[in-house]
């Protein structure tokens, strides 16, 4: 199940959209199929990947983590070192370049954590396209640094106030925009989900991660025992796993958001637990957190990027078939992993990716010795400072924010502001 068959991955996938969206999807499919065989397009993409994204990203051995966890050697794929701070740029650049070839001048995108929005905004600035990013109002609040950066790249960030005001609602809003404007607009979906051809297209643009891991491991004689990635919609994981799907001796592990517990509305676990069911939502059939009527259930996670009620159809199919294992990581465990890898390896995981880090910490002793665990650090944690600071240094953070507001209100230069004293250690 390395690619879809007519848009389906076994029982999941499809193109469950209104007829209005059918034409742009069919045209996108045709262009994608054409350009992925076009040498000039692939060369242009390759040069941007090398010079702008900064590929290849390192595969870094984690010696202290390996020693402290007392099991398999741990390697971290530093995908967060890609320009704009996460793997999302791989897909954003790929789709924006494709859109440009298709003659589109305007790009729209949805974003949860803001990483995909940020990547799309940057890709549009790089390629000279106009950009509007839909972002749930709640996510706008919890990911302010990314909002600020998107605006710097010249994108318009449109807060979405409908529904649950998170990622799912941003997708709906982007779909509505696309339905009205597809003649000049391309919708850059950021995850490996939605109607066909998005799951195939996003996987192909993200597969560069897995292909590099394959090459890096071959060059350094690293024998892989297990690969671990976080799974929201699933773009980093499917790209990371993609070249290894047929290599059955390698364990592939997806870490879902366990939120604050197993109860309804407390997490975003679609493959673990008993809350999810088969459903059709946002243009595709997959596993979703739905109530008995089919209404989307609220989700919860400290990580905005994993806070979504569905999962990409290929991952769902591979999970049901037993090829990919899923595990659920609590908010608390993700925070512990952020701290663990920051202190011991000098690597700051994004909260999303820290779910993979936490899963690897649990897995370390299960993998036969001599075989490596590869963690995909899909993004780095700079953007999470507003979420991690209140947890790790609440007092100093509160004091900083209050003094900063005071400074802004009184229009003072930073050098003239109140002395905070010795508390900001």
């Amino acid at each position: 199940m390395t690619a879809s068959s007519d848009g389906f991955f076994g029982q999941y996938g499809g193109k469950y959209v209104t007829e209005v969206l059918r034409r742009p999807l069919d045209e996108l499919q045709a262009s994608f199929d054409f350009y992925m065989k076009d040498a000039a397009f692939l060369e242009e993409l390759h040069v941007i990947q090398r010079d702008y994204i900064g590929r290849e990203t390192p595969l870094c051995f984690a010696p202290r983590a390996t020693e402290l966890l007392g099991g398999a050697p741990i390697y971290i794929k530093l995908e967060g070192l890609a320009n704009t701070g996460a793997h999302k740029i791989n897909n954003a650049i790929g789709q924006c370049l494709l859109a440009k070839k298709m003659g589109k001048t305007r790009i729209i995108a949805e974003t949860g954590a803001g990483q995909h929005g940020l990547a799309t905004a940057a890709a549009c600035a790089k390629l000279g396209l106009s950009c509007t990013v839909y972002m749930g109002e709640i996510d706008v609040r919890r990911q302010q640094p990314n909002v600020a950066a998107m605006e710097l790249y010249g994108a318009k960030v449109q807060p979405v106030t409908s529904g649950s005001r998170t990622l799912k609602d941003a997708v709906n809003e982007a779909m509505r925009d696309w339905a009205a404007n597809f003649e000049d607009t391309h919708y850059v979906l950021g995850s490996a989900l939605g109607p066909a051809p998005f799951p195939d297209m996003v996987r192909e643009f993200q597969a560069v991660i897995g292909k590099e891991v394959e090459k890096q491991c071959a060059e350094r004689n690293i024998e892989i025992g297990a690969m671990v990635a976080c799974v929201g919609g699933g773009s980093n994981s499917i790209g990371f796993f993609s070249p290894f799907l047929e290599k059955k001796e390698i364990r592939l592990v997806g870490a879902e958001a366990g939120g604050i517990g197993p109860g309804k509305g407390e997490n975003a676990s679609r493959m673990c637990g008993t809350a999810a069911r088969d459903g059709i939502l946002q243009g595709y059939k997959s596993r979703f957190l739905l109530d008995e009527d089919g209404q989307a259930l609220p989700t919860r996670s400290i990580s905005a990027g994993l806070d979504y009620c569905g999962i990409g159809p290929q991952l769902a199919a591979l999970g049901r078939a037993g090829r990919i294992e899923f595990t659920s990581i609590l908010d608390r465990e993700a925070l512990e992993a952020v701290s663990f890898f920051a202190k011991n390896e000098g690597i700051l995981f994004a909260l999303e990716s820290a779910h993979a880090g936490a899963a690897a910490m649990k897995l370390a002793k299960e993998v036969p010795s001599g075989k490596a665990i590869i963690i995909n650090m899909s993004g780095r944690g700079d953007k999470d400072v507003f979420i991690t600071s209140p947890v790790f240094r609440p007092e100093a953070w509160g004091q900083f924010l209050r003094s900063e507001i005071e400074r802004l209100d009184s229009n003072k230069d930073i050098h003239e502001t109140t002395v905070l004293g010795g508390c900001l250690k």
Binding site: G14, K15, Y16, V17, T18, E19, V20, R22, R23, D26, S162, G163, K168, D169, N172, M175, R176, A179, A180, N181, F182, R277, D278, G279, I280, L281, Q282, G283, K285, L290, E292, D293, G294, Q295, A296
Partner: protein, 251 residues
């Protein structure tokens, strides 16, 4: 033209309350509505604009279930035995409980047909078949942007009725009825299906220019807007709904 126009009027089940929604249905029927299109509120109505979206969110916030929506339809069926009732919603609400199961319940509530725009006519999870088994029709939705070949396939797929969305985009914005609208309608009808035409119908002039090309004119957001604006004044809401329905149905 002085002839009465067949009008399909849309309303959201349970919006803003069960009682007011029922009074709205009564007002629409007394204004000359022949067909009621009743939307079951869904959490992610991606083909709808802000008006209908907000209405759905508001109803769901009360803990409204599909069973409540079907009970609402049953009540309307009893009150108006001769009005045609179509149920409009999204695939998730049909697929999750099982398409066969859902269709059985809908038919029992008095539904005559289903409009589910995100279940494609050529991949409908058994909707058409289960509608037929239960004495209902599946009414697929066509759009003017459809590729020639696909529109041809739909027009010749043997559906008794097709709902033609008169422009691209989402519900709620006004649509100009132009020559290209009429030629689109001709194509939709080319296989012998009867056509309902709507999306952005706000006034009698639009309805009259459309009337001869369709089986019925469909209006939705215009009514939802009246209901939203007059939630606190039910008498005025009823009056305005009836007047608007009269204007659109030319009666």
């Amino acid at each position: 033209m002085t002839e009465k126009i067949k009008l399909m009027s849309h309303l959201v089940a349970g919006y803003p309350t069960d009682d007011l929604a029922f009074r709205a249905a009564q007002a629409l029927v007394s204004g000359g509505t022949s067909i009621l299109e009743i939307q079951l509120p869904f959490s992610d109505p991606s083909a709808d604009g802000p008006l209908i979206q907000t209405a759905c969110t508001q109803v769901l916030a009360r803990g409204y279930k599909v069973a409540d929506g079907l009970a609402f339809i049953s009540k309307i069926r009893k009150e108006f035995p001769h009005v045609t009732i179509y149920l409009m919603s999204y695939g998730s609400l049909i697929y999750t409980p099982g398409v066969a199961n859902f269709c059985k319940k809908a038919a029992a509530a008095g539904v005559n047909g289903m409009i589910i725009p995100d279940l494609p006519f050529d991949h409908d999870e058994g909707l058409t078949e289960n509608c037929r088994k239960n004495g209902m029709v599946n009414i697929p939705v066509a759009a003017p942007s459809m590729a020639e070949k696909r529109l041809d396939k739909l027009a010749n797929a043997g559906f008794p009725y097709i709902y033609a969305a008169l422009r691209t985009g989402i519900t709620g914005r006004q649509t100009a009825i132009s020559g290209s609208t009429l030629s689109f309608l001709e194509k939709v009808k080319s296989g012998g299906s009867k056509v309902y035409g709507g999306f952005g119908i706000y006034n009698g002039e639009q309805a009259r220019s459309l009337a001869s090309a369709v089986e019925a004119v469909v209006a939705g957001s215009v009514f939802v807007k009246i209901i939203a604006q007059n939630q606190n004044n039910p008498e005025l809401m009823e009056k305005e709904l009836t007047e608007k329905a009269r204007e659109l149905s030319n009666s």
